[in-house]
Symmetry: C2
């Protein structure tokens, strides 16, 4: 079975790439490294992917599937109330757990995007499109008369920036971090800010 063999090679390449991306990152991982780690030749790589970016795209698709499944499990109507502590926390918890579970892809994506350079404002476009969920929830709040700190798109982007950068920084450390602690802290910071809930000393 040729097909089975080919699929096996493809899977091996993806798996090897995932491991190497997590270890040394995307930019420092060469195509020859991936092929070698998968026990295949460099030439064989190109039978499956046009280049490194395409392989990253495949990994990203896997990650999105898995993230969608995790979100779907909980359900996610637009009417979520992000000023409800439990609901906000659940959003942050899921984001953080996806980061952790797909650390390699996250690191690679982060590197690939930042590495592409400033030129075209792609960083902003990516940030807004990936925080669209937050934005929708915030718009919903605003429609209901709640006063937000600012424009929903900007606030959503700020939340995403915090999550993304903190995730990259913390999840590329050697020492593991207490996920619950992080999620709790971010929840309280985003919900009540530094001042804390009403009546805090």
């Amino acid at each position: 079975m040729r097909k089975a063999k080919a699929a096996e090679t493809r899977a091996a390449l993806l798996e090897a790439a995932r491991r190497l991306f997590a270890e040394r990152g995307f930019l420092n991982t060469k195509i020859t490294d991936i092929a070698a780690a998968a026990g295949r030749s460099a030439g064989s790589f190109y039978e499956h992917f046009a280049d490194r970016e395409e392989l990253l795209g495949a990994l990203l698709a896997e990650m999105e599937d898995s993230a969608d499944r995790e979100v779907a499990r909980a359900g996610h109507p637009r009417e979520h109330d992000l000023t409800d502590r439990d609901q906000l926390r659940e959003h942050l918890r899921i984001a953080w757990s996806v980061f952790r579970e797909h650390r390699a892809v996250m690191v690679a994506l982060f590197q690939s995007r930042v590495g592409a350079g400033p030129g075209d404002g792609r960083a902003w476009d990516d940030l807004t499109s990936e925080t669209a969920v937050f934005r929708h929830h915030l718009e919903y709040l605003r429609e209901r008369g709640h006063r937000l700190p600012g424009d929903p798109e900007l606030v959503a982007a700020a939340m995403g920036a915090m999550l993304g950068m903190l995730g990259y920084s913390m999840l590329t450390r050697a020492e593991p971090v207490g996920d619950d602690t992080v999620v709790d802290t971010l929840t309280d910071l985003l919900l009540y800010g530094l001042a804390g809930p009403a009546g805090t000393p």
Copy 2:
């Protein structure tokens, strides 16, 4: 005067690098590009800098000087109260204006660090050391009995992550952004959170 001529070349290289970093970023700017843009030869570059990183270090030093001056102008005792809106806002305003003024250096630094890869947890170290000022102020608050959303180091890092990533994303767009609006929004978000100040509908 040989010295004067050399200093001139050095300055020209720095200036060219600054321009190119802002346009296409650090990783996409080759040493030969910098030399050419400065009207010098590639060989001459090495008379002044050992490599691209060293040049970036020189730009960074300039930026830090300028930032220190801006901070010093206002004074910055440890006893700042970040739960005071004006004081928090002033901190954010200064950070944002430094980003804007030294966009090229910021972009380059960001790229250089992310590009270095996950390996050694450098991202976390950099983030914590650069948010040390926030941390100190937060520790001061905690000592005075104020209840924070979490560990001062973590909260400070989260604030810095938000600022840094949002700054990178927004300041690498083509369309300019209203700085005051951004600073106001971040101030309110960090001070009172999504829930808003006590008594908000």
